[in-house]
């Protein structure tokens, strides 16, 4: 395991996504933009151990993985901007990123990356022995039937397949604990998957766990399930209303007051005291999304940086400067050729 290399992968992704965030807020990117900020250690720990010919089945939050897997940052950025010279000619966008060359596919349909991973693994087993497939998803997706079917199918067909569950405890605004029966890794294990749970903010833990899991499945011992806990520092997608509420309560909540008032006093429904409690509960969503975004102690990059700074502060600064410059270069390249240079009309 090379901390420096992993830190480089993670920081590159982080700075790239920070830049995407800026462009989104500037109105140059459309749609619902889901960032992987906070998940970098999971992506880096796994992707750094993949080999050519391995495949990626991603969900709606796949930018870090694709960057680390070698997709040109400029191609991604252009795609997000909807440009003809983007990765998918501007036709896919950030939820539908595809690269045949990298055997990488994405989906905006929750749960779909499960079967997608199975299909890649089937092709791997038959056409490219020794290669594996990886299926990426959040913990919310594990309640989708097709995902659970995929676990079963992978076990039945004994496929070279690594399932990676990035568990941030939330699906959009819903705490996943409240909508799940049983225990997640136990459930996966009951399908016959070998499982391992790691702290997704700890690059070492992820890397070691991924190593074990990947070796297991690559050597033909069947599918494996890596569960990695993490936090999203940019909420479900950028600018989600509940996050804006938390950050700027006055601006965001005041427009809601007339509606809330009507809901409090309108005929029919539960007693007033309960309604007050409901106001708390529904606005509490905002608070919890804020608390998620403030748990910076769980930031995989800060944690790693701390370690490396102690090791060789100069080297660290040099590396960071390089990455920063590289991202800036990509941004300049992309924006300078942005024919329109216009906001989304």
């Amino acid at each position: 395991m090379d901390y420096w290399e992993l830190y480089q992968l993670m920081l590159h992704s982080r700075l790239f996504e920070e830049c995407v965030k800026q462009l989104f807020n500037d109105g140059m990117i459309s749609g619902e933009m889901h960032l992987g900020i906070g998940e970098e250690a999971i992506a880096a720990g796994v992707i750094s151990q993949l080999s050519p010919g391995d495949a990626l089945a991603l969900d709606h939050r796949g930018t870090p993985q694709l960057l680390m897997w070698g997709i040109e940052p400029a191609a991604l950025l252009k795609e997000f901007l909807g440009r003809e010279d983007g990765l998918c000619n501007g036709q896919g966008g950030h939820m539908h990123l595809f690269s045949a060359e990298h055997l990488s596919a994405s989906s905006g349909i929750v749960g779909a990356s499960g079967p997608a991973g199975v299909g890649f693994a089937l092709a791997a087993k038959r056409l490219r022995p020794g290669t594996i497939s990886t299926a990426w998803f959040g913990e919310g997706a594990t309640n989708e039937g097709t995902m659970m079917e995929a676990w079963n199918l992978a076990v039945v067909w004994q496929l070279p397949l690594l399932f990676i569950c990035k568990d941030n405890d939330y699906s959009i605004t819903t705490p996943s604990q409240t909508v799940r029966g049983g225990h997640l890794t136990e459930k996966a294990r009951s399908f016959g998957l070998r499982t391992l749970s790691v702290n997704g903010a700890d690059i070492e833990e992820v890397w070691l766990g991924a190593k074990e899991m990947i070796e297991h499945t690559r050597s033909g011992h069947g599918p494996v399930f890596l569960h990695a806990r993490c936090r999203h520092f940019e909420n479900h997608f950028i600018g989600m209303q509940s996050a804006r509420m938390a950050n700027n309560p006055l601006k965001e909540i005041i427009p809601l007051v007339p509606g809330i008032t009507k809901a409090l006093f309108r005929r029919g429904g539960v007693p007033f005291s309960e309604r007050l409690r409901n106001v708390g509960a529904t606005l509490g969503v905002a608070a919890s999304s804020k608390s998620e975004s403030q748990a910076k102690a769980d930031d995989p990059i800060l944690r790693t940086r701390f370690k490396l700074a102690a090791e060789d502060a100069n080297r660290l600064t040099g590396l960071e400067d390089n990455i920063q410059a590289e991202i800036q270069r990509v941004l300049n390249e992309v924006l300078s050729s942005n024919n329109a240079l216009e906001k989304i009309r």
Binding site: Q91, I109, I172
Partner: protein, 341 residues
């Protein structure tokens, strides 16, 4: 009469119905957050948050409705029906026939639909014609706040399954989510007449299968639903300036279709253009023509529909989705004229 936003009207109508009928429940993902006002008024006993598992909670809603509840399933986006089509197609829709007419499933599937904000083809479909193909399903697509509340009221009162589609470009809170309202630099084309408008003091059901003639016209008739109605109105206004009198019919429900209004207007103008944000082939645009043909009418015909999978880039999706320009081009083509438009 007061004035309401499109999304508020729907939720206001639901609040009225829920207040009157304790059997009505709302089921869906993030429902406590997405339907804040209803949640405050009715709480978690009436608004049931779900895991991400559409097929099972829609399936459950079917039998729950058979056993006396009146569930409204909030599916978020209609695109997600693809993971939950079976309860709708093979169960809810078929129950009345299978049971010999003795049982039915009074459930509402409420979903947002439509594109125009650069979200890509897995999140911007319309699918109303696709859903209407299945016998036993009612499909309603309102174009303004008054119809939205009135059709939702009809949906919850209806004794068999209804799909209620709210177009995202009409519903304020979707734009809010998508960043259309808070990223000041973003321009999304939202038809003003559709997003805010007068609504009745008390909601009453608007019957399914009754179109609304938004504008009379003698030369041709534009048929549409949802955002397409507003694009049609815009096109008709342009045409008016060139002395072309275009009628606009808002079908309001895709199934059942208001065959009478379709035929009556066709008998007058003899020129039909269907503006249909659903996919071009095998859908609403063809069906409107077919029912008029079946009635023995002869007419000229064009359609302006979504041509293929919707790409991500705003620039590209505008070429694929219907819009006012494409409607005007179709008119020029149909009338074989040279209107300088």
């Amino acid at each position: 009469m007061s004035v309401m936003k499109f999304g508020d009207a729907i939720q206001d109508a639901i609040a009225q119905s829920m207040g009157e009928d304790p059997r009505i429940i709302l089921i869906g993902e993030d429902i406590h957050a997405y339907r804040m006002k209803l949640f405050i008024q009715f709480g978690e006993e009436r608004l049931l948050a779900t895991p991400i598992s559409e097929s099972s909670f829609l399936g459950a809603a079917v039998t729950a409705s058979m056993a006396g509840l009146r569930p409204i399933v909030d599916l978020t986006l209609v695109d997600f029906i693809a993971v939950a089509m079976d309860p709708l197609m093979n169960h809810a829709a078929k129950l009345e026939v299978f049971s010999g007419g003795k049982w039915n499933a009074p459930l509402v599937v409420w979903a947002a639909c439509g594109g125009g904000y650069g979200d890509g083809g897995q999140h911007e479909q319309s699918l109303w014609g696709w859903l209407a193909h299945i016998p036993g399903l009612t499909v309603a697509v309102p174009s303004n706040p008054a119809d939205a509340g009135g059709l939702m009221t009809a949906a919850v009162e209806h004794d068999s399954p209804v799909i209620f589609l709210e177009h995202k470009m009409l519903a304020d809170y979707w734009l809010e989510w998508m960043g259309g309202s808070w990223r000041e630099t973003i321009h999304i084309d939202v038809p003003a007449e559709g997003t805010v408008g007068p609504v009745p003091k008390k909601w009453a059901a608007i019957p399914f299968g009754k179109a609304a003639i938004r504008k009379e016209g003698n030369d041709l008739t534009l048929f549409s639903v949802g955002v397409g109605v507003h694009q049609s109105m815009e096109a008709a206004a342009v045409l008016e300036k060139h002395d072309v009198s275009a009628g606009v019919v808002d079908l309001r429900s895709v199934s059942p279709l208001d065959v009478e209004t379709i035929c009556n207007t066709m008998a007058v103008t003899g020129n039909m253009i269907v503006v249909d944000e659903d996919y071009r082939g095998f859908g609403l645009s063809a069906e409107v023509a077919a029912v008029a043909l079946e009635a023995g009418l002869k007419f000229n015909y064009r359609r302006v529909c979504t041509n293929g999978t919707i790409p991500y880039a705003r620039r590209l999706e505008e070429q694929v989705l219907p819009n006012t320009n494409r409607i005007l081009e179709a008119v020029v083509d149909l009338l074989d004229t040279n209107l300088p438009i």
